[in-house]
């Protein structure tokens, strides 16, 4: 059993296509998606068309919620830009997504933590322009009461593989479409594999035409995104 895990595509269809090509070469039984699908000043409607066609098992991210519900954060410049470009069918799709779900009782999906789509789980990066490993107590606490061998989260854009003391695996695949604080523009995703009842994980970094993606954000009037897209080093502050 092999499952590809993607997250935080953020409207970057070029990065998504590169990741899908990589997944096709790996050969998986399923692909699943942890949210923040369209919220980026790149190609939100093109990304929406592709992801709706794919119909991967998906949970909603915080930006998906802001856009779908028309909540105040959706008036933030990026969410506003994206909302204006999405068609009703795209918004209906976002509204149909659950906050959490599981795959056959084996794999649990959420965006941030099991109880919040805005809280980070496996990284505490937004205290500074870097990545920081959180402590064991905080990581373990978020997993309380969730009886699944694999717990998946996104949101921080930082890929990590953690194994709790009871053997459960917690994995963040990183971000497909928006790298920051992390030192590489390459698109990220994860692959889960089950051998003899034991789950393990790997993180993949895939080069793609990030310069073409940077040209999209510049053309769309969001030049502050270009550094993140080109280098992977920018801070998340000021992007949205």
């Amino acid at each position: 059993m092999r499952i590809a895990v993607i997250s935080d595509v953020h409207g970057n269809r070029l990065a998504l296509e590169a990741v899908e090509a990589s997944i096709a070469m790996v050969g998986v039984d399923a692909t699943i998606n942890l949210g923040d699908l369209f919220a980026g000043p790149l190609d939100p409607s093109g990304t929406a068309d592709l992801l709706i066609e794919r119909n991967y098992p998906t949970v909603r991210g915080n930006h998906d919620r802001y856009i779908a519900d028309g909540l105040p954060p959706s008036t933030a410049p990026v969410d506003k830009f994206v909302s204006e470009r999405l068609r009703p069918v795209h918004l209906d799709y976002l509204r149909s997504l659950p906050a959490t779900r599981d795959i056959e009782g084996e794999v649990f999906l959420c965006h941030g933590t099991p109880t919040s789509d805005e809280e980070p789980w496996l990284d505490g990066w937004w205290t500074d322009r870097t990545v920081t490993m959180p402590g064991e107590a905080s990581v373990t606490k978020q997993a309380e009461g969730l009886d699944f061998p694999v717990l998946l989260c996104g949101h921080t854009h930082v890929s990590r593989i953690v194994r709790l003391r009871d053997g459960r695996l917690v994995v963040n695949p990183g971000s497909v479409g928006l790298q920051f604080n992390y030192g590489a523009p390459d698109a990220r995703y994860a692959v889960l594999e089950r051998h003899g009842g034991q789950w393990s994980a790997s993180i993949r970094a895939v080069p793609y035409d990030f310069e073409a993606a940077a040209q999209q954000v510049i053309a769309n009037g969001f030049p502050q995104w270009a550094e993140a897209i080109r280098t992977g080093w920018a801070s998340a502050i000021g992007l949205f």
Binding site: M133, R160, I161, R163, S200, I203, R204, D209
Partner: protein, 237 residues
């Protein structure tokens, strides 16, 4: 071109053999090793014999150098291993170079290209592992104009792209997880495709309880703790 990269085995034969089994299923053309082979209590001599048998392209780590050359403030473990090695094992360890350039323009080092005891991308200073600033990493890579720079030492897996497109990869540690939140053995596979080098950072579940028991039986309970949970700080080792 598809290459498996392993590093920082630290005397853990259980983890090394699990990684070698996993590599055998991944269809790689070559496997390379980035040093700190033996410094650990579990089974350093078994690891030495395995590497002698495999003959992998390898570079030496700082602890390999301490074992062969000695140093003022020895780790207990380095002194222990130095006393255990036979002539053949000592000769092998002393023969491993500090850096190596593979065909395909892939450069191997342990810490940074210039120093086996300097961390390249991550820093373990303080209590929270984090990354070095971009300028620091770029400066350490300056002058080493190769498509891929492979390094170990920090035990933190990472795939980073320098401003000019060169890739820097740390596969993490096969045998000694530190502040990473998992006992699984880590290694990497790099692969050159049409669009450039891809990286795969793998975490392999293995019988870490057996490796921890070996450490405990030899009187190293803190090592056993590190091997069992993967949250230990390097400070206590």
């Amino acid at each position: 071109m598809r290459i498996a990269v392993l590093s920082d085995v630290h005397g853990n034969l259980e983890a090394l053999d699990a990684v070698l089994d996993d590599i055998a299923r991944q269809g790689v053309e070559q496997t390379v090793a980035l040093g700190d082979f033996l410094s650990g209590p579990s089974d350093p001599l078994g690891v030495a014999d395995r590497f002698i048998e495999l003959g992998l392209p390898s570079v030496r780590g700082n602890h390999d150098r301490y074992i062969t050359d000695g140093r003022d403030k020895d780790w207990h473990i380095d002194a222990l291993v130095r006393g255990l090695l036979d002539a053949r094992q000592r000769q092998w360890l002393a023969s491993v170079p500090a850096t190596l350039l593979l065909e395909g323009d892939v450069f191997l080092c342990h810490g940074t290209p210039r120093d086996d005891n300097t961390s390249f991308m991550d820093t373990m200073v303080g209590t929270t592992p984090t990354m070095h600033p971009r300028d620091y990493i770029e400066a350490e890579a300056a002058g080493f104009d190769h498509e891929v720079l492979l390094c170990g030492h920090t035990h933190v897996p990472r795939s980073l792209r320098l401003a000019d497109g060169r890739l820097v990869v740390n596969p993490g540690s096969v045998g000694l997880p530190m502040e990473i939140g998992s006992p699984d053995a880590r290694y990497a596979i790099i692969e050159k495709r049409r669009a450039g080098w891809n990286t795969e950072l793998r975490a392999v579940a293995y019988d870490h309880a057996a490796a921890a028991k070996q450490a405990l039986d030899k009187g190293y309970p803190y090592w056993a703790e590190a091997l069992t949970w993967g949250w230990a700080s390097p400070k206590g080792l």
